[in-house]
């Protein structure tokens, strides 16, 4: 059961409240805020809080909090996943930066969405495609239509396919040029220890499909090294039994862009980049030297490199210069750290980029602080695992679609300890 939902902003103001079962008093929001005030960082408020009258379950996304008060046994993950779903729908409708501002601006639309998504405390229509067929997202065209033709954002009929066995695809899709593209994206999450050992390493890979095909196409995709995707999390359109039996990805795609599958590879992997940090302390000041470079055997452009060095807030000043790229100091939102950001558009071929200089701490500050560097980068046309598309078959349609495959790798949580 999902009895109620409060969407509140960071000061505890209720932006939207909706009750499906009974009516929870607004006091629960105050109770929640009292808990939040106790924490130094807002993100540290425990997600499930026990209070004398009820339990408060919340999810925090940016500057808004989704809060649900439950007063009887309900699986907390069920509540959290509904929160998650609501946010996903909002991201889909309003773009990736949903804030309290967004919620205010699209108030009645969100209220409408909530009404469709949950009925009487039960999740109702939560599939984004279906919702979109009922309630149109606010696009510029829609706004124009609303203004001039006085048409409405709420569609009048139940979407087709609501009760079919393929609810994710709408019927009667038509395109002039049919094309299907696959993006093989990989994200490297790792922790590199002080001695350059990889203590944690995980590749999160996903196959993202952009499908613009008419009719009801049936697609079969095979990849090289299918063992790599053994533990994949699949989109619901993938025929799971076929996949388990033959390691072949066979599916009727939804329309548009979607993540077909996500896989995880653990254990050592080839990293495209090395980072060698060193920090030594003498009398309250630290000498910093960080060098980075490509580890690729053949040349691949490594782009958008950013190295974040979080220093404690006690740091007085930093005097860091780089022989390539730009350096800036940023106060983090939580106030816990003072971060030095080193940005490089790409790694130059002729020299190895180095950041050097010193940081100053107040006298008496026992400096033994070893920051964990956070590194970001992008590599195009390359992936760590070597996963490639082997074959692609589109059946049940009369046309020959255009087909494309791209690969890219980027840093996820790429941490380097020093």
């Amino acid at each position: 059961m999902f009895p109620n939902l409060f969407i509140i902003n960071s000061t505890g103001e209720v932006l939207i409240e909706k009750h499906w079962e009974g009516k929870a008093p607004r006091k629960v929001v105050e109770t929640f805020m009292e808990q939040q005030v106790k924490k130094e960082r807002k993100i540290d408020v425990t997600p499930v809080i026990e209070t004398p009258k009820c339990f408060l379950v919340h999810s925090r996304r940016g500057d808004i909090v989704l809060l649900t008060a439950i007063n009887k046994e309900t699986a907390p993950l069920f509540v959290l996943e509904i929160h998650n779903k609501i946010m996903q729908v909002m991201y889909h409708y309003f773009g990736p930066s949903v804030s309290s501002r967004t919620v205010r601006d699209h108030f009645s639309l969100i209220y409408h969405l909530l009404d469709e998504m949950v009925d009487g405390g039960f999740p109702f229509t939560t599939d984004i495609n279906q919702l979109q067929a009922m309630i149109q997202p606010p696009t510029i065209v829609n706004k124009m239509m609303e203004t001039f033709a006085n048409s409405d954002s709420v569609k009048k009929a139940l979407p087709e396919g609501m009760l079919t066995k393929i609810p994710w695809r709408r019927t009667g899709v038509k395109y002039h040029s049919n094309e299907i593209c696959f993006d093989l994206l990989e994200e490297i999450n790792c922790i590199i220890e002080r001695n350059s050992n990889l203590s944690v390493c995980e590749i999160k890979g996903s196959i993202v499909c952009t499908c613009r095909l008419s009719g009801m196409p049936d697609i079969t995709l095979t990849v090289t090294h299918p063992s790599l995707i053994q533990d994949a999390v699949l989109h619901r359109c993938v025929r799971i039994n076929r996949f388990r039996r033959d390691r072949v990805i066979s599916f009727v795609p939804p329309d548009g862009r979607f993540t077909l599958l996500t896989y995880f590879l653990r254990g050592p992997a080839q990293l495209p980049i090395f980072v060698r940090p060193s920090i030594t302390y003498t009398d309250g000041s630290g000498n910093v030297s960080i060098s980075i470079g490509s580890k690729m055997r053949e040349y691949k452009a490594i782009e958008d490199i950013k190295v974040v060095i979080p220093f404690p807030k006690e740091m007085l000043s930093s005097n860091l210069t780089a022989n390539s790229g730009s350096v800036s100091t940023v106060e983090t939102a939580t106030g816990h750290h003072r971060e030095v950001h080193w940005n490089l558009p790409r790694i130059p071929q002729n020299k190895s980029p180095t950041l050097e200089g010193s940081v100053l701490f107040p006298p008496g500050f026992k400096a033994d602080y070893r920051p964990t560097l956070v590194v970001h980068f992008n590599v195009k046309m390359w992936n760590t695992s070597g996963l490639q598309v082997d074959g692609l078959n589109v059946t049940d349609v009369k046309y020959k679609p255009f087909r494309g495959v791209r690969t890219a790798t980027r840093a996820g949580r790429f941490h380097v300890r020093c």
């Binding site: 939207i16 209070t51 046994e73 959290l80 501002r101 009487g120 203004t147 139940l158």
Partner: protein, 895 residues
């Protein structure tokens, strides 16, 4: 009008609401559908932001007969929300609902059923029952699924009808399960589960046929359907054969992207696994569970909130299957990252300690060591404690752990040292006489100790090893010098340590022990300390016996302290993915087991409690809660008599500690707080304001630091407080002109003549109007010493007592206190401007005690009692008007 419709948000921005409502009323009577539709939309926008639009009920429902589907839907939406306030008006519309329930369009049929279920008045039953029965047999799947859910709503309105066997609602719901459409199946399952939970009866009555039907539908349902189906499976008691086959069906769901599905699948497995004899099946299933469990921790798929719930559940699972995740590759998944929220980090630490084994301890220690160097103090402390727990858990590797602790202590970072000493004390207790060579290092850090627990631990160590520490008498003498300023925890430790010292080195410590014993027995008002002083004194008359007793062998401690008892663990594991599994408490202690309390309606909520408590007492699940409440009552009554015993003894005199100790709770408002940023304003930008409450000539005032970031000079100001918890009011506000780019500091005098509101404790809502517009913001108020006046507080115990008996008692248990020892409480409360009157130990064995404090708010006496009871704190507060505020302040000062 059309431009208004662009954004829902603009519906709010009306200044003249009454005029608006009149206009709406007019528009609702309009002929044109579009105009009416727009009006209903506005009504709904008003409604959803809390404005009372019930007077428009009659006007809105007039549009219900419309053929326009959207308008119909909007009207239905309105009715759902307001029918309760206008039940008679709603009944007038019922005929229309029944008509719509016969409509040829399935969508309208479903909508009518859905809305009727939302009108929660008893009279609706007679109309709803026939319509619902028909809908449950409708030819359209969409209507059937809606009807299934509506049956639950009917149950909330009228229980009897639904469970009545003559009406056969349950039979019809069960019949839906054998139907093919997964959507219908899962909604029927959801309805049956919900009714079963609310009624406490097994309405489901699952048999092996239904079991098979559910298992077959499982993979075709959507994610929520799977959750309901899996939970239904987990409630069933299968045979071994069924268990094996169902587990096979369930295993693929472990990989589901939706964490609720994966966790419900784990729940089924946890329930069914013990029934299976075959070792291979067990192994295969456990192996299959491992990767999905790890996936639940994956931050790129799941937000931290979900990781937290997963970690709490995992903590239980690995207690039952300890070998499941000990491998290196799994252990690494629990490594903390510096930007994880603290609750995730702490849970990960807990699990790592549980997974610690001789084979992996090196890796774990390296990891803990790096955590102990992070910036987050709370986490660093937990990491140091975790190292200590590993040392106690793994005797063979204790040496390594101690080495790491020493390294950390040598860094000299204050809180690391203190925490390190606390855990080393435990290590000494577990391994006596093994690591005494490190005492020297500990002694180097004596000066930096300022926390009671760390001090007490250090004193204990010195006492225990006083024979081997050459200058132990000097060290203890130093501690004894400040004896009277210490809290009871440290005092007790010093007393015991000095006695030990004397027994080891009788000729060197004779004077010291006499001095401490006489202070304890003559000067101190803590009965516990005094009594222990007397006991030692008597004991020392016979040194041989004293040696036997004081220096005898002590029971060892072990790491079992954190283990959950096996039977409780069974219960908790059967409840994986519930609230019980998060708080690690069995359901009976936590949730009002199958009881169905609905949240009260808003008007009911105002007159709280009274009815709620009386109907709870009949329920058995309530037992523990009730018992506690009953226990507390006689105590509250007994408190004054205890205090009475005080004023004839000499012990009432203020302990010197109370007078000298300075407030240690750092007052958070030392720095002005930015309450309004120049860039973040909604429709107001350009002025940045930071504020700080302060006292000027004894009167409270608000210092504002205003920075003009706009292009124009600011000359006109209007500043107001909303009704607030203190009743503060700002009467005068005349800051000088602020030219662009400059900052002005202005101190606004405050009075207590404003309206008092019980909303927003600790915050004051203010509005500031300038040429730039009106800005609303909250000013946090947390420096309580500004309003508590210690000097005006009652000092005479008799006066205190008579007042105490006159006034009404307000009680509040402190839910999560930062510390529970009396010295902490005293320090914290003195820090906010209270005066300690007395401290009384009621029952030394359970640590039941109470502390009385007094203070003054706005010329009004405030009397406070803090009760220490089995590790919990309960605050009582008595005052004329401000008791509620005072008790909240006590709460916030202690937690």
């Amino acid at each position: 009008m059309t431009s208004r419709r662009k954004k829902g948000g603009e519906y709010f921005k009306t200044s003249n609401q009454r005029g608006e409502i009149n206009e709406l009323k007019k528009n609702l009577k309009e002929q044109k559908t579009e105009v009416r539709k727009d009006a209903v939309k506005k009504v709904i926008a008003f409604m959803t932001c809390g404005t009372d639009v019930s007077p428009l009920f009659n006007d809105v429902v007039q549009s219900i007969g419309t053929s326009d589907l959207e308008l119909k839907k909007l009207v239905y939406l309105y009715i759902i929300n307001y029918a309760r306030k206008q039940p008679d008006a709603a009944l007038k519309v019922v005929s229309q609902f029944r008509k719509d329930a016969q409509n040829s369009d399935p969508l309208i049929r479903a909508l009518a059923i859905r809305t009727m279920g939302c009108i929660r008045i008893p009279k609706i039953t007679q109309h709803l029952v026939p319509a619902l029965k028909q809908a449950l047999k409708d030819k359209d799947d969409y209507v059937k699924k809606t009807a299934a859910i509506c049956t639950v709503k009917l149950y909330d309105i009228n229980k009897e009808v639904v469970v009545d066997s003559k009406e056969d609602f349950i039979t019809r719901l069960r019949a839906l399960i054998s139907e093919g459409n997964p959507m219908v199946v899962f909604n029927a399952v959801a309805a049956l589960t919900e009714i079963g939970m609310k009624s406490g009866k097994d309405v489901f009555a699952m048999d092996s046929n239904m079991l098979r039907a559910l298992a077959a539908t499982l993979s075709e349902c959507n994610e929520w359907g799977q959750v309901y189906l899996l939970d239904a499976l987990a409630a069933y008691e299968p045979s071994e054969k069924e268990a094996t086959s169902i587990m096979q069906r369930v295993t693929p769901q472990l990989k589901h992207k939706n964490a609720a599905v994966a966790m419900s699948a784990i729940k089924v497995i946890m329930k069914y696994l013990p029934l299976v004899e075959s070792k291979t099946t067990r192994k295969v299933t456990l192996d299959a569970m491992r990767p999905p469990l790890i996936t639940l921790l994956n931050h790129s798929i799941h937000p931290p909130e979900i990781q937290y719930v997963a970690l709490r559940n995992m903590n239980l699972i690995i207690q039952r299957f300890p070998d499941m995740l000990t491998g290196f590759q799994y252990l690494k998944e629990f490594f903390c990252e510096y930007n994880d929220p603290i609750y995730v980090k702490i849970e990960k630490l807990e699990i790592m300690v549980r997974l610690a084994a001789n084979s992996n301890i090196d890796l774990i220690l390296t990891e803990f060591k790096s955590y102990a160097k992070e910036a987050d103090t709370e986490f660093v402390r937990k990491a140091v404690r975790a190292i200590g727990r590993c040392a106690i858990k793994l005797p063979e590797k204790a040496q390594k752990c101690v080495q790491v602790l020493l390294e950390l202590i040598k860094t000299g970072v204050n809180y690391v040292v203190q925490e390190g000493i606390i855990v080393i004390k435990d290590i000494f207790r577990k391994y006596p006489n093994k690591y005494e060579q490190i005492i020297g290092v500990l002694c180097d850090n004596l000066d930096s100790l300022d926390e009671p627990e760390a001090k007490a631990s250090m004193v204990w160590i010195i006492g225990e090893y006083s024979a081997r520490i050459s200058n132990s008498e000097e060290l203890l003498k130093n501690f004894a010098e400040t004896f009277e300023n210490e809290g009871p925890q440290v005092q007790l430790a010093i007393l015991t340590a000095v006695v030990k010292l004397f027994l080891y080195k009788p000729n060197k410590a004779g004077d010291l022990v006499k001095e401490v014993l006489s202070t304890c027995t003559k000067k101190v008002d803590n009965p516990d300390l005094r009594d222990r002083g007397f006991v030692y004194w008597r004991l020392l008359m016979n040194p041989a016996t004293a040696k036997q007793i004081v220096l005898g062998k002590k029971p060892e401690i072990s790491d079992q302290t954190f283990q959950i008892e096996s039977k409780t663990l069974d219960v908790l594991l059967a409840n994986v993915n519930t609230l019980s599994s998060i708080f690690h408490k069995p359901p009976a202690q936590l949730v009002k087991g199958g009881r169905t309390t609905n949240f009260k309606t808003k008007d009911q909520a105002d007159d709280e409690d009274s009815s709620d408590d009386s109907d709870e007492s009949s329920s058995e699940d309530e037992e523990s809660e009730e018992e506690e409440a009953e226990e507390e009552k006689p105590k509250a009554a007994a408190a004054p008599t205890n205090l009475l015993g005080l004023d004839d003894g000499p012990t009432i005199e203020e302990s010197p500690a109370a007078v000298e100790s300075k407030p240690t709770t750092a007052s958070p408002s030392n720095k002005p707080v930015v309450v309004l940023s120049a860039t973040r304003g909604q429709n107001f930008a350009g002025l940045e304001v930071a504020t700080k409450f302060a006292k000027r000539n004894g009167d409270l005032c608000l210092n504002l630091y205003m920075k003009n970031k706009s292009q124009q000079p600011l000359t006109k100001f209007l500043f107001k407080f909303n009704a607030n918890f203190l009743g503060l009011n700002c009467a005068e506000f005349k800051p000088p002109t602020i030219s662009p780019g400059s900052t002005v500091q202005y101190s606004a005098p405050l009075t207590y003549e404003g309206k008092i509101s019980d909303q927003n404790f600790g915050q004051i809502q203010a509005a500031l109007k300038t040429q730039l517009g009106v800005a609303f913001f909250y000013i946090p108020f947390s420096d309580w010493s500004l309003i508590f006046d210690k000097d005006e507080a009652i000092e005479d115990p008799k006066e205190f007592l008579s007042k105490w008996e006159d006034l009404e008692d307000h009680k509040l248990p402190i839910s999560s206190p930062k510390g529970t020892d009396p010295s902490f409480v005293q320090k914290s409360l003195e820090g906010v401007g209270m005066r300690k009157m007395a401290y009384r130990q009621l029952d030394a064995s359970t640590g039941h005690a109470c502390m009385f404090l007094s203070s003054n708010i706005l010329d009004e006496d405030v009397l406070v009692e803090v009760e220490f009871k089995s590790g919990n704190l309960i605050a009582h507060c008595r005052a004329d008007k401000h008791a509620e505020v005072a008790i909240k302040i006590v709460d916030s000062a202690l937690s």
